[in-house]
Symmetry: C2
Subunit: 206 residues, 2 copies
DNA sequence: AACCGGCGTAGACTGATGGTCGAACCGGTG
DNA sequence: CACCGGTTCGACCATCAGTCTACGCCGGTT
């Protein structure tokens, strides 16, 4: 967990550290990111770094949390649909998905960070950081889930955590697939088909 | 790529190396696995290890490939259903899924290896190994996909690689969720509901 | 018997990593 | 001035993956 001291640092120095860390993690992932490079780029000593952060994973969790919170605030919540019913809910989800993709395309470093986060189940050191990050993202996801269920758009016969896990898994798969498309493919991503698959997996059975 | 020399080693020594590597990777994942520990446990020198394997990722890929091939051979293919039609295909898939879960429960080290493989998109070194492993697993997956499509059980309006990516993502999510259940939960895993979600995401739209 | 070439082994060595630690520094207070 | 808590520093540590040189052994050739 970031030490509270960090918040008392002059904002300029906080920024320097966070930007250096964001650059390093975004371009090298977690494992191949080098703390030595971060402290060089940030212009601080190793001692100072460990004075403010528990370890490498803690630094990663903090910079990721800051960036994700900014992103979620930017994109805005999945709006409670004006009219009731599943269709309105799912089109709100699709609108959010499209917006988020647009935002991520405009901030490639944050996109890279998100991908590192989603794809880092392997590293035990990162798993602690995962927990901290989930504390940021999960409540948000759960609100969306409950909204969907109260709209009759999401099934209620399976545990919430399973539904969320499946949604995340599908989202990660779609993201990976979108990334693997050649960059010169100017066609807009088929968000309709992707959200449609998510919908059919999660909506109540008739 | 494993050097062909490795196959000419006395089987006992091959076994010693593979078993040491399996133990290490299964209990520590990829990144935290230590080659030094592997060579100690296997009773060989570092020079010998690098005489037979390109690097750490190569060793991982080899041991994973050996174990996965053994697993797939054990469980057997997704049988071409005796009668035609989507229902028969999807119940064959469920049967395979249940069998595979049973086999993995009986071989926890292999299960751990599979989890390391699925969750290792982050590490660039492992990505080369991923490619090698995919050469083992993907053809198998594609055969299943084509079988499903020819049974009318799987949609044909989206690219195959997207369908496969989504299926893998859902499988990984379900596996993670199954793992997170308390170990004293003796209820059999809800494979029906899980394969049902997969089915609704992948089957043709009416 | 003497020699040779190469396969396989050994382990010291390299450069880098994440993380630790004690010393030094600095602004404020008595 | 003396002290002190919060902060900064960088040398240092263990360990890592990977490299490199030396060497022992063995089968074949002369």
């Amino acid at each position: 967990m970031v030490r509270p001291r960090f918040a008392r640092l002059p904002p300029a120095q906080q920024q320097a550290i966070l930007r250096a860390a964001l650059d390093e993690f975004a371009t090298h992932g977690f494992h191949d990111a080098s703390l030595n490079r971060v402290i060089d780029a940030a212009g601080i000593s190793k001692g100072s770094m460990y004075y403010y952060f528990d370890d490498k994973a803690d630094l990663f969790a903090h910079v990721a949390r800051v960036e994700f919170e900014r992103l979620l605030a930017d994109v805005g919540p999945v709006a409670r649909p004006p009219e009731p019913g599943p269709d309105a809910f799912w089109s709100a989800v699709e609108r959010f998905y499209r917006d988020a993709l647009t935002r991520l395309a405009a901030h490639p470093r944050v996109a890279s960070l998100a991908r590192t986060w989603l794809g880092a189940s392997e590293n035990p050191a990162l798993q602690r950081a995962q927990l901290e990050l989930e504390a940021t993202v999960m409540p948000w996801l759960e609100r969306v889930l409950v909204l969907g269920q109260s709209s009759g758009a999401v099934r209620t016969d399976l545990p919430s955590d399973l539904l969320i896990a499946v949604a995340i898994g599908m989202g990660r798969a779609m993201d990976t697939w979108l990334l693997s498309r050649p960059p010169d493919d100017t066609a807009p991503p088929p968000t309709g088909a992707l959200v449609g698959m998510l919908r059919r997996a999660l909506e109540p059975q008739t």
